[in-house]
Symmetry: C2
Subunit: 369 residues, 2 copies
């Protein structure tokens, strides 16, 4: 694989020098920033996340801030989920859709103040989208990307590490709740969140010049629990059914196809973008759904860098959107975005780089046999 | 530098296997696709482009298509440039702006038919932007990204190569003009365009499955002229003053700051996005402008992967946005986005990775002393 060519179109994370010094071997672009893709030892990284504690540079999870008198109104217009009971200090997972009901991002929305919201975004330009809608609807709101860069601490021992840094109060934070904190003069927000199912926290660093300081504090504090560097883990996230927007979705995917039904409220106001389309899709039913795929064979396949056809009796029924070696199942597993005529238990063939691999559709999250 | 981690969020170009086989050593993300960043021998690549002929995978230069009864109307709404005299078969360089007059992309707009336009875009999500505006204004137009992938042939011998493939008629194409063509059953458009000042063509491949076929035809046809692989060349493009949107611009840059005045028509209709802001900025005058920077020293500096402060008498006056070794000037040169109080000839200091480098502001394009 080629290296990443130098370009000023790709921004460095405040933690970039730290993760390089700690041995990042690959990177991937995400919101015009580089997200570490691994540190050279996939199994140790998986074990650290699922049995201990891992620290991640997820600065690329940028914040799109809505601020001003119409911030709450714009947030609701952008989200097909009822935000009327949202409170300051609580985040919510939302499926942002375009006017056709296609998902264009799946951020966590943080209500920072009555007149200030942050979308903690996946990999698409929600700043461009939100500023377009704000201007076209004549709303009194400022859309910006503030200097905020999350660092995640994930794993069953994450709470111990984070409590040792900030105090026992962090254990009482509910999922997606967040609170202001100060660490040796570094302003941040501490949130109970992160892109794994192992539990953990994200520190929203609010001063990019302090990235190395924060990294080092966490690294030092986590030492007794064996903390080490990591990144969003393909094996752990697929085993546990976490969606990668843009990786597991295409330009036609609606929330109902990818198990996000419960994050859509069809009774939001009529001016919410995409709600008319979503009501129609809900009525008619989606044509595809997301199921697990378990492949035959007990040797790791290379991870996906493209979608592969899923075929039944010679006919394409969908795509295997991502796949990885599961350390828990000791099988290659992945996500299928397949026709609703396909069901759990169906035998399928995956056409991967000229090879045909036998497999079977399964529930998500995956269950050990 | 780290390698690129496998991810399905980054698409492969139809020419990907060909450029890897031909020795691409680095890649950079561009519109969720990989753009080659070099083939291991910068000087040969520069000489090939400026003295011979070079072929480039620029599939990442995606096309955003507007199709339908309101396509022309939407194109004009998005462009602060008068399109009323546009004809089918002719492209135009345009500076797309947001409602504040900030440049959000600088594509070539191709009028494909009376009801069909393509924006051949730089690295930002104009599909998302255009579809938002279309829906918000209730226009009858379909916004999509068709299966179209440009391959560029650039250099003083490009016309000879392209004429040998398609016939002598290609020599009569005006700059940014394009025409349909067919090559062994491969549908494409041949355009007189490309991101260099050496002259050349771009083939808009209209069937992604034929990438390797097209690559091989061009490679074979160009053999008598010594064609070889290349990519947008930092040295050539900076010497000749070509702007890299997103690399040389930030979230505040307007067209007047970066020498694009002549592509803005202030008398376009009032419903054109950003026109009110642009009229105000034109009246008040911009606060920054783009000048060249020539650094002292005759050894190549590393290319930029971030902006560096430009300082005069201890005060920051702007940023050096990109810099590279110039094979023509045998100096390190680059672009400065600096206060309008700075002028050609001013002595400046560039603070690059802890070093202070002396330099002087210069005209763009650069002139040999």
């Amino acid at each position: 694989m080629a290296t990443i060519a130098p370009t000023t179109r790709l921004r460095k994370s405040p933690f970039y020098d730290s993760v390089m010094a700690d041995g990042a071997t690959s990177m991937m672009p995400y919101n015009q920033m580089m997200l570490p893709g691994g540190f050279g030892d996939p199994e140790s990284e998986y074990r650290r996340l699922t049995e201990g504690v891992s620290m991640w540079d997820v600065a690329c999870e940028r914040q799109i801030q809505l601020q001003g008198p119409d911030a709450a109104r714009l947030a609701q217009i952008l989200c097909p989920r009822d935000l009327s009971k949202n409170v300051v200090g609580q985040g919510r997972y939302v499926a942002l859709c375009n006017h056709r009901g296609t998902i264009i991002n799946d951020p966590v929305l943080l209500k920072v103040a009555d007149d200030c919201y942050w979308f903690s975004i996946a990999d698409s330009d929600i700043g461009l989208w939100a500023s377009s809608i704000a201007a076209e609807r004549g709303l009194d709101v400022e859309v910006s990307e503030p200097d905020v860069s999350p660092l995640a601490v994930q794993g069953p021992k994450a709470a111990d590490v984070v409590a040792s840094i900030f105090g026992e109060w962090v254990r009482d934070l509910k999922y997606f709740a967040f609170a202001d904190a100060d660490l040796d003069g570094i302003a941040l927000k501490v949130a109970r969140s992160g892109w794994s199912k192992q539990g953990g926290f994200e520190f929203y660093l609010m001063d990019g010049s302090r990235g190395a300081d924060l990294w080092n504090i966490v690294k030092e504090a986590g030492r007794p629990w064996g903390i080490g560097p990591g990144c969003p883990n393909p094996s752990e996230r697929i085993e546990n059914g976490l969606l990668s927007w843009g990786g597991d979705t295409d330009v036609h995917t609606n929330p109902f196809e990818v198990r996000l039904d419960r994050f859509v409220d069809l009774d939001v106001p009529d001016d919410v973008i995409g709600i008319h389309a979503l009501r129609r899709i809900a009525l008619e039913g989606p044509t595809r759904h997301q199921l697990g795929v378990v492949l035959d064979g007990d040797l790791p396949q290379p991870s996906h860098d493209q979608w592969y056809d899923i075929v039944v009796h010679g006919t394409k029924v969908g795509d295997m959107t991502n796949g990885t070696w599961s350390f828990k199942l000791e099988r290659n597993i992945g996500f299928g975005l397949v026709s609703v005529n396909c069901n759990v238990g169906d035998h399928v063939q995956v056409h991967k780089s000229g090879n045909v691999i036998q497999g079977q559709l399964s529930p998500i999250p995956f269950t050990t046999a």
